[in-house]
Amino acid sequence: MAIATRQPNDPPHGQIGFSKPSVDAAASFRTILNAVARPGSPQTVAAKTLAAAPLSLAATTALLTLADADAPVWLTPDVRSDATDHLIRFCVGAAPVSHSGQAAFVCGRFGAIEALELPAGSPDYPDRSATLIIETDGFAAEPDALALKLSGPGVDGVALLHVAGFGSAFARFLQQNAAQFPLGVDLLLTHGDQVVGLPRSTKVEVG
């Protein structure tokens, strides 16, 4: 892929990225840490950057906060654009990878991620696994949203999470992931400025 040259009508890519990298990344990390430490509770990221369309602000912020040259990013084809190209290559500076199995962060819609080969760690090093940043249609308790009952570390008793845009295949994916513990991938679900953590330690039931 050649580096895209700017056209006059291109989006303002210059506004993607943290203006104060140190403190913006610190605040964003705390939001994400809270999300992972308390699975199922939507956390709101502060707007420190412009979203790299079609990615949400939360997904853009997560990549800016966590990915870099040592942590390659793989975007599913449906979320690739000039803006995300600018985000990954220029702002994040992540090494391009040709295969999802080499990525530390895999980002996109669930439909495109489901079938991928993903690093799930090894028994000796379960931490050497991918983190999935999955775009959703929101976390409101609507009737057609997938309702999940979560339990495990970080959850006081049982937490109820609604995820719009997914069917039971997503719940099965989560259950299979949790069944591999301590292997597995960790998920950040994103929508707009909201992020929900679903680490591999979280047990999932369809509620």
């Binding site: 203006s19 420190k48 870099d68």
Partner: protein, 332 residues
Amino acid sequence: MSAVDDPTDLTLGSEGSDASVAEAKGDEQIADLSSDAGDDRIDETIDGYNFAYLDENTKRMIRRAILKAVAIPGYQTPFASREMPMPYGWGTGGVQVTAACLTPGDTLKVIDQGADDTTNAVSIRQFFEKTARVDTTTRTEDATVIQTRHRIPEKALTEDQIIVYQVPIPEPLRYLEPRETETRKMHALEEYGLMHVKLYEDISRHGHIATTYAYPVMVEDRYVTDPSPIPKFDNPKLSNSPALQLFGAGREQRIYAIPPYTKVKSLDFEDYPFDPGQWPQACALCGAEDSYLDEIITDDAGGRMFVCSDTDFCSRRRAEQDAAATSEEGEQ
């Protein structure tokens, strides 16, 4: 890392207002950038140093390790520990974890064996006052991040707090099996028989489990974990804590975590259940009967007293008692 060096550039110009990238709320998001609570603080950190001392690449690496550690409770995640401006054994691991977690709005408390006023606690507190310009406190409930060496505060922690432990030897099996390749395999296979043999030998030799600090725990029924050299008295506080617990070992290059509301069980046997221990006496200063006590030698003739190790807990109890006594006198 940043696409824009000059924050004043970050207003949407005519070029950007119709951009497809800017969603409906994009304009508000950009407007928000100017009103950042941490703005004036960051300008005050000492010249030539990044916020919270570490460079951004290092912090990202530590942050990724912390997230994996939280996702696999009790598992020791390797990280590329940096040299810090303090010797190993003085909390280099804890300092790096704290630096990766701090935001300008945080209030930091640092304790060493429960005390806010010992050398290690004072120097780490001053380190972050200088490099991150965060507020510091000695009051447990006012802190959002607590870095600790070898104690958990007496006052119950809350959901809004993170406690960071300084860890010398993160591997609970290290004194039983010196080879890292072997202990790693033992964790992978959940092969913890050796640890139970050690506890059994304690019983056969001493009549009870004689381990009194760094008492091994089982986290969420999977990983045997070293809770750092906290007294076993503090072990019950590890389990089902509302606060996030992070552990950093600088020399050994490991980070591990116990997320909130996680089951943590101190290893024991059915016929020799875990006993957190207790004292026959109360604190000599504040009279507390439920706190962890330190022995203080008072003279050369064998004189000694037992006082709370948590200085914040003890001094505020005494202040309350003094205030109550004063108001009683006033009424008479």
